[in-house]
């Protein structure tokens, strides 16, 4: 890949990469250059050309087409998943009435519910899909309670794969793949439970898992720190790779940034969707007898960190990792499966090419 010299001036110098290999200009009939790109040479621009206008073009294009983001929240009932989603997106995404007198029956089996919304902020249009999992981990026997979730995630990959493999395919394939899965860990203060470990282990292989400590207002700061420490150790001991994955760091900048995030995982969050008056300002928070917990105050809880991670800084990265890593590995696995029945269509196309070109 290229070196990352970022200079601030207008036109800048770039040291050449490798020496350029040109196709020799003999009169011998060689038709086309080979597919391996010849070595490239850096070139100095004498004046302003306008290449950086391509950034604006890209920006305009993406604003026009809009974005899609699919998030899944998993956790036992009563951990505040719906409230958290509402707080994240500052709107009533999940219409779960939380007043007293409301009886929510715990469903017998776990069902996944997806709700899609479109939100617009400053001209940026986003199609947000939130998948909720009521009933997760609520039964007495929770074996294989992750199966419906795994199946759902794989179904979305399958749908995308089918669209991608069509001969006449759409210009923009609708993306319903789950980009991030937020897992709510109950604030026991001890360790991760076997259910948590098992679930995260299975799911971190197919989707970006972001673990959070739910209802963190029951833990003091010291308890919180210890809990986090133990969770991190647990995750490492079991080889669970949560987002941001270590092996996906491209370069030192990324690594530094992601290390900071990794040190803080899992975020201890508190969700609230009611506003209160604090010091003359309206803030989102939970009012208790002993004080008001401000959700967006970094001293109180780590909700701002979660929000920044999910939305403000790493949203595109979440989508990219889903597309480039998880989707690709699903695709490899799927195509290899049909390979065992018969060599895969892709390999078949490939092989046919070779055979045809040889014949």
């Amino acid at each position: 890949m290229h070196g990352r010299e970022k200079t601030k001036e207008g036109s800048s110098l770039v040291p050449g990469c490798t020496s350029m290999e040109e196709k020799p200009g003999q009169p011998a009939p060689e038709e086309t250059p080979s597919n391996a790109p010849p070595g490239t040479v850096g070139r100095e621009l004498f004046g302003y050309v306008g290449i950086e206008a391509v950034l604006d073009q890209m920006r305009i294009k993406t604003m026009k087409t809009g974005f899609e983001f699919n998030i899944m929240v998993v956790g036992q009932s009563g951990l505040g998943k719906s409230t958290m989603v509402n707080t994240l997106f500052k709107s009533k995404v999940s219409r779960k009435p939380t007043g007293p007198g409301y009886e929510e029956r715990i469903p017998q089996t776990m069902q996944l519910q997806s709700v899609t919304h479109v939100i617009v902020e400053k001209g940026v249009k986003m199609k947000l899909t939130v998948t909720d999992t009521p009933g997760f981990g609520d039964q007495i026997n929770n074996e294989n309670c992750w199966d419906p979730i795994v199946k759902y995630i794989k179904e979305q990959y399958e749908k995308y794969l089918r669209e991608e493999i069509l001969i006449s395919r759409k210009r923009k394939i609708p993306d319903t793949r789950v980009h991030s899965c937020v897992y709510f860990v109950p604030p026991t203060g001890h360790w991760l439970r076997p259910l948590d470990l098992e679930f995260m282990r299975r799911l971190s292989k197919i989707v970006n898992v972001v673990p959070v400590i739910a209802k963190a207002d029951t833990l003091t700061l010291e308890e919180r720190a210890e809990f986090k420490q133990r969770i991190q150790e647990d995750l490492k001991a079991h080889g669970i790779n949560v987002y941001p994955q270590e092996d996906l760091d491209d370069d030192s900048d990324d690594r530094l940034l992601n290390k900071k995030i990794r040190d803080k995982i899992p975020f201890a969050v508190v969700g609230a969707d009611t506003e209160h008056q604090v010091n003359g300002k309206r803030v989102l928070g939970r009012r208790t007898k002993w004080g008001i917990i401000e959700v967006e105050n970094p001293a109180h809880c780590e909700f701002p960190l979660l929000r920044d991670l999910l939305i403000r800084s790493h949203l595109q990265d979440l989508k990219d990792v889903t597309h480039n890593v998880h989707y690709e590995s699903y695709r490899v696995q799927r195509l290899n499966e049909s390979n065992q029945l018969a060599p895969s269509p892709a390999a078949g196309l490939l092989g046919k090419h070779e055979m045809e070109s040889n014949l």
Binding site: M1, H2, K8, S11, S12, V14, C17, E22, K23, G25, P27, E30, E31, T32, P33, N35, P37, V41, R43, L45, F46, Y48, I51, E52, V54, L55, Q57, M58, R59, I60, F67, F69, T116, H117, V118, I119, V124, M126, K127, I165, I167, S168, R171, D250, I311, R312, H314, L315, Q316, D317, D320, R331, L335, S338, A342, P343, S344, A346, G348, M355
Partner: protein
Amino acid sequence: MASSEVARQLQNDNCRPLSLSGHVGFDSLPDQLVNKSINQGFCFNILCIGETGIGKSTLIDTLFNTSFDDRVSTHFHPNVRLRAQTYDLQESNVRLKLTIVNTVGFGDQINKEDSYQPIVDYIDAQFEAYLQEELKIKRSLYNYHDTRIHVCLYFISPTGHSLKTLDLLTMKNLDSKVNIIPVIAKADTISKTELQKFKIKLMSELVSNGVQIYQFPTDDETISKINATMNGHLPFAVVGSMEEMKVGNKMVKARQYPWGIVQVENENHCDFVKLREMLICTNMEDLREQTHARHYELYRRCKLEEMGFRDTGPENKPVRVALLKGYKDNKKSVSHSYSSVESLQETYEAKRHEFFGELQQKEEEMRQMFVQRVKEKEAILKEAERELQAKFEHLKRLHQEERMKLEEKRKLLEDDMIAFNKRKAATELLQAQAFASTPTISLKKDKDRKNTSFM
């Protein structure tokens, strides 16, 4: 973009629009995307088609304001070749990997029938490479060096009359594969009025021959106006030059003639600035997108159909789709795409069987042929053997006959000898009798005589 508009538009998508009660922060999404692209860098590939000496390299140098090292090529190439060179350019924090493909020897041959074919082949080869990468099982598309041609600058010689047949033919063959932007090269040889007429003539010729050149997109409000005006100025009349002259009190790129100075960046003198603006500043992204979404998809579709793959269609698929026909619409669409991977697989299986069948057949044929040949050879050899045998017999017989003859002769000889001996004995007896009949005194003499006759 008014949110009510958005709301109405998306009601149809079964999505509920939502109103935000505070700042969420995803308006930074385009920035995140842009940052990501900056990290990855951009790729842009230009193909220049034009006769030798028409000014392709100079124009590219001028466009990107740098001197790409390009040798002057001769006019004596026997066929058209393409030469691609890749350069890394950087401007502020944007890295561009620019590939320039030049046609060498275009329009130089006496017989120009095949001039456009290498170009078409090259473009197809780039699409093919991308398709191969996309179809691999383990693929890495996000750091794949995209070599597909994004734009083709077609250089028209400034005759002032009309398009050459070669130009028309080439453009007709390329218009469905690549975005073509025709430019009038060496525009400083045409006067303004002639230029107007020339442009009109060119455009009408292109239209009447059904050549689809690239139209700058007019669907986005921010750039639609300027794009529309530019569309009216096509083809751009350009002049290229890297030499700088002093005009007024500035150094500008220009060409100096005894009768004046043609300034490259002066809009009154030529359309160079327009070309640069359109190509780089305004529409680079759109060019890339059109290449990917339209030309590449078309190529992919044709290629896959050619190889016999089909999306599920009710007429050529067995039991499965027949069963699905009865389902409701939305279910059908899902199962439509559900059978896609399998249908691909089935088609592949069928092709594979067919191919193997052919292979088997060929093998059988060869085997048969081999066996046949062996038989034939054997027959020939047997024939030869028989002949030899016959000869041998014949010779043997001859030999026998000779022998018998000889035997006879010998017998005869022996008989003769016996007869002769007999006669001899008889004659001697007679002689002896004749002696005994004379009275002789000397018995001794008889005895002597007997003795001597005995001897």
